[in-house]
Symmetry: C2
């Protein structure tokens, strides 16, 4: 028996996203105005986001309808397949049943279009003509570039300079979709100019790029801002992943004992596991959930649960989250999508309530796991996804040890086609292990704002 | 109404490949031994190929059963989707109905795994442990690398040196799948050493790389050779594309008036159109078929229909085909998969019988079409596929002119994720148009063998 694919018919693309705020045991801490320390309201966010997205950010409704034009675009690649990884099971000689939900089938090659399409749609509906955003390695930027050209919106992307220079392929993808891509820090914003004045060779960071994009949106009447992770509405849109997975497990006549997802800002993890955690919170079956983060940027395991800014220049409101400090610059490991100082407030909240556990992996271990997976299953994972692969393999090896036949499911959030340089470096023995950057994190945490 | 996807259920992956040899009006010219000028038999090919593949090469059976282990692997991405390109239709303002069959959903990103999996399987069944092959831009090499690691076969790939140096990402993919990749010409074969002795800076060609791989297989008892296009059995395996498409047009309650495919060696074109041409040859509905080739390597429109070698060092048997001469070195345009001097004998035979027409496009026009397609449909095509896109768009624009509402279907044989440098060059205005290389072709044609 070979790899098995569980594919739902198109009409079973979810009709609603799942909002876990409806099922939380305690309410989420409010977002605060850094000047006043008071909770902010919808009007404060209106310069940055379309109103429907702001409503979703604070909604307590369990189900939020997916507009038909969004489902129409989803249809191009959704429902995404759930695979039973029989060849990997055989290679590991494990009694575990290993499943993976594969989001790399989207045109941009990751889960990011699930929210990019929704965000572009709501902006279009509100008559907005331009969006500014940031991107690290480029997954989010290319997803929003695709969605923006489908809905006829002009897109400006601030791309972290080190990735802009080292990863031109993602930039090529964004430009092919008609987006304007600028290296960040740039000379187009006050935030960028201030950084460049202090350090003309700054290689940039996600926190800096966010500052630039927010500034562009805040200072222009016809431009809104869009973020690819962290915020509640972004996580909401990603729940199509887990909602489909629940139905696919019914097809497979199985249910996961263990769920695994990698965490950067938290959106692919949340999208995959929230529907399962929500079912449990409503009295359904329990499942062990594991978040996997890079040991070089370990916000959940080494960060502080506190109010912090989302960006380096401190232009965003304050969110209560696990943070390494907004000035922390993560080392240059290859999983660019996991190089962020903070964690989504909703994910942080559930971590505090012990709804999941977190493990940390160095990139050397994750690439070894990614290559093993590729050779068994034929799919080369993105470096971010390799973190989930590594933890899933370790869980399967524990089953081999114990003789248990658990069902282990992970989210393969994207393919590695645009990250082959990382694999070439790995094969050539040029990849570095990164120490836990304890001092840099302590320094960044010492600068946390005192509000909240 | 947005893009529509026609997706067959998994159980409708074809159970047999379609062999057009059963329906030809006149039989295919035999393959000849270049020494004797006589037809070669199965035993002559046994050192190079698994016996089941040799039988398929000459079979006259209309249907050849697809082994279950091959269908099991196909299941990972097949049936591939057929899309109605409504957003592209709208962008073109055409009354035409545009469809595309999308083979980029395979793990290697192109149609190549359809035959790679079959070839690896038959070799494995015969107990063969090693395969040698060549690759140009790397689509074929990465597909066979994937298939080889699934079936536990060791793979050595001779990669055209210019691509080895310029396109490291495909090499990274092959290495991740465990293959050994060598730049060709290499110092590991007589053919390679002879070329290097004459020109130490040779950038290589597909014809040279074939010579090297064939030599390795011919001189070793435990190694066979594999080719990614041209041969009858390769085209046979690709017919899953067209067989699925016929069923998908039934789902769509439509039938193509025009079919379009790009041609290099001919396999994606054949795989898509042969089932439709076969239906017509057996008395079914007529359809206009268009082959699209690069104007810088125009074997069908400017080549000679004659016996020629498949490789530069003249180690292969002679095949009757449209050829530009086996010593012709195509200019360095970006569609590496279309840079071959010859055309599949079956495709050439049907061209002689006027079963389709051929058009030639320069790469500048094809990239413009590819970008237009990407911005409408969200998928970035491979440079090879851009040739089909360009011709399909031109057909749709003719419909706009005439007011006809034809159904135009093309094969989108792969995505461009590994070809983004070409798009970056295109956006930067660095891409060159190539003149038809008349003198070089005349020179190469003057050296055609005199047999046959």
């Amino acid at each position: 028996m070979d790899t098995v694919k569980y594919l739902l018919p198109e009409e079973r693309i979810p009709r609603s996203w799942y909002n876990i705020q409806a099922d939380l045991k305690t309410p989420l801490a409010p977002v605060l105005n850094p000047g006043t320390g008071q909770p902010i309201g919808p009007d404060d966010l209106a310069p940055l986001f379309a109103m429907e997205l702001i409503k979703q950010e604070v909604s307590q409704e369990r189900e939020i309808e997916i507009p038909e034009p969004v489902r129409d675009v989803y249809r191009q690649w959704r429902p995404s397949p759930l695979f039973r990884a029989r060849r990997l099971e055989k290679a590991l000689d494990t009694p575990a049943r290993i499943y993976y939900k594969y989001e790399g089938v989207s045109p941009a090659g990751s889960h990011k279009p699930n929210t990019a399409v929704a965000q572009a749609f709501y902006n279009k509906e509100q008559g907005i003509k331009k969006i500014a955003t940031e991107t690290g390695a480029g997954q989010w930027g290319s997803a929003l570039a695709m969605a923006s050209c489908i809905f006829g919106i002009e897109l400006k992307v601030f791309m972290v300079r080190v990735s802009f220079n080292q990863k031109p392929y993602r930039r090529g993808l964004m430009e092919t979709f008609g987006a304007t891509v600028l290296p960040s820090p740039s000379d187009q914003t006050n935030a960028g100019r201030a950084i460049l004045a202090a350090n003309p060779n700054s290689s940039g960071s996600l926190g800096i790029a966010i500052s630039e994009a927010v500034e562009v949106a805040a200072q222009s009447d016809d431009t809104k801002y869009a973020l690819g992770s962290v915020l509640n509405h972004v996580l909401l849109h990603q729940t199509v992943i887990g909602l489909e997975a629940i139905e696919q497990f019914e097809m497979a006549d199985d249910y996961p004992d263990v769920l695994v997802g990698c965490t950067g800002g938290g959106s692919n993890f949340a999208g995959f596991v929230f529907p399962f955690i929500g079912a449990k919170l409503r009295g359904g079956r329990a499942v062990d959930v594991i978040a996997v983060e890079p040991s070089a940027c370990p916000s959940l395991t080494k960060g502080k649960f506190a109010y912090d800014f989302g960006d380096t220049a401190h232009t965003t409101p304050l969110m209560k989250m696990h943070t390494l400090g907004s000035t922390f610059m993560p080392p240059g490991f290859h999983a660019g999508g996991l190089r962020y100082h903070g964690m989504a407030p909703l994910v942080s909240h559930l971590a505090q309530e012990n709804e999941f556990t977190t493990v940390s992996y160095d990139q050397m271990r994750t690439f070894a796991a990614g290559v093993q997976f590729a050779q068994a299953e034929g799919i080369v994972p993105a470096p971010e996804a390799n973190h989930a692969v590594a933890a899933a393999i370790d869980e399967a090896l524990k089953c081999k040890e114990s003789g248990e036949s658990k069902a282990i499911a992970f989210n393969l959030c994207g393919h590695g086609h645009f990250d082959m340089q990382a694999y070439l470096d790995y094969h050539a023995g040029k990849l570095e292990a990164y120490e836990y950057p304890a001092e840099e994190i302590a320094m960044a945490l010492s600068g946390l704002p005192s509000v909240g």
